[in-house]
């Protein structure tokens, strides 16, 4: 039984603002299922008593002090902007 349905792929594509043809959706659904099946091999391991983790490293509490440092010059901050006006990024009106 496939782990992911076509409808889920379509839904996630929509959330990510991606457009695919039907053929692409079919192929992506297959690929994602292959990946999940491969990863699913891990389920064969007995993980009783193993703490769930979000990181491979045993590292916690990386902090910085509350100190102000240099920011980018505004021209550099805006250097990738397709459009700018004064110091602001300009985007199509959103409301």
């Amino acid at each position: 039984m496939a782990k992911i349905q076509k409808s889920e792929v379509e839904h996630v594509a929509k959330l990510a603002r991606l457009t695919f043809s039907q053929a692409e959706i079919d192929s992506l659904t297959d690929q994602l299922n292959d990946i999940l099946t491969y990863i699913g091999k891990l389920e064969e391991l007995d993980s009783t008593g193993v703490e769930p983790t979000t990181h491979a490293l045993k590292l916690t509490n990386c902090f910085r002090g509350d100190e102000v440092g240099e920011s980018l010059p505004v021209d550099e901050a805006l250097s990738n902007a397709p459009q700018r006006e004064g110091g602001a990024f300009v985007v199509p009106r959103i409301i």
């Binding site: 839904h11 996630v12 929509k14 959330l15 603002r17 979000t54 990181h55 490293l57 590292l59 916690t60 509490n61 990386c62 902090f63 910085r64 002090g65 509350d66 100190e67 102000v68 440092g69 240099e70 920011s71 980018l72 505004v74 901050a77 805006l78 006006e85 004064g86 110091g87 602001a88 990024f89 300009v90 985007v91 199509p92 009106r93 959103i94 409301i95």
Partner: protein, 475 residues
Amino acid sequence: MDYEAVIGLEVHVQLKTRSKIFCSCSTRFGAPPNTHTCPICIGMPGVLPVLNKKVVEYAMKMALATNCEIASVSQFARKHYFYPDLPKGYQISQYELPLAENGWIDVEVDGQTRRIGITRIHMEEDAGKLIHDEHRPLSFVDLNRTGTPLIEIVSEPDIRRPEEASEYLKKIRQLVRYLGISDGNMEEGSLRCDANISLRPLGRQGYGVKSELKNMNSFRHVQKALEYEIRRQTALLLDGGQVVQETRLWDAAKGVTHSMRGKEEAHDYRYFPDPDLVPVEIERVWIEKVRQEMPELPGAKRERFVKEYGLPPYDADVLTSSIHVADYFEECVRLFHRPKTVSNWIMVELLKLLHQDNQEIDTCPVPPSSLAALLKLVEDGTISAKMGKKVLEESYKTGMEPQQIVQEQGLSQLSDEAELKSMVARVIEDFPEEVAKYRSGKKKVFGFLVGQVMRMTRGKANPKKVNELLQKALD
């Protein structure tokens, strides 16, 4: 049918750190657009955020102040959505493992105390600011605010009335200001509130369909928006209709809420743990250290003011409403040891002056030492209480010391007995008719005669002394 409102609030509090939550850009407000940005807060690929320790400690303070349990391990998560004020395409927030959970605060409405549960408090980053062009179809993006630290405080759906919601918010503001972790200003956006509200038949368990209200930027607007929403949902339900789950914006000018009609799919944020940020581990020792640094909170302070200074609960309540007023009072009492007198002058005179100017006590031009000096002048009879009020106003206006005002304007009260006696004698001589009236039993004339002495001294005579001397001279 009677309905009952079920209200839960989500409050965002902007923390008063110097630098942002994950980078060293300044959080200062009002800088030119995009001058406080760097590759981290602007969302460049390949950069690594590092957590500002002060953010964690500020959040811990609020958690302790609201009786929450602080998690021994918490984790940041990415919340995905697309909007131009969010350069990374996701907001770093907390989801499954928030910093703190299961707290409460008590709020009082009409003399009744209700305990409002707090589901969770978590840390997250703020988004940027958008300005929409009025004429052209353009929006301007300023990312200075992006990455400013926030805590989100989520309440249980325990609130039943709009007034309670407003009191709850005021309590949150009072706490963040006491703790010194935020300005807590709704009008300026350092305190923001969204409300979830649904109705259910009175006495019934379970929840109806809720709407989420946004865009309320004052306590009054939160209350008004909720009142409106209760009327709207009640009418809908009584009509046999149904409430639609949606986000509604409060329109303060029209006094209504209207649907945002979002095209977005129902919230699907695809949260997952942020691989760039390692878990935050908090041990007891750290919690205790933070607890030590916390100031006395409003409840404890109010109780102490009643016990230590013998103040009526009402006075203690007013004086502890803000930590600055409380500090002002205590500094004043340290210099002038009559707590109730100090309390009266602060509550009645000083707060009135500040209120007229829309000023807070921490910027008051009359420092506690000056008020204490003024009260000494009144106590030792140098000036009357009435004159004291005028001197306070003058000192408030000019920033001058009370002693200096009294001296320069010659306001000292005239208490010299010999001098006052001669004036009383002159008044008795000048007004024989009135004196005769008084002696024949028309005691009301006494006030007139006192008034004449006061007039001769242009109000400076010590009224108590004048009364005494006049009485003696007439009887």
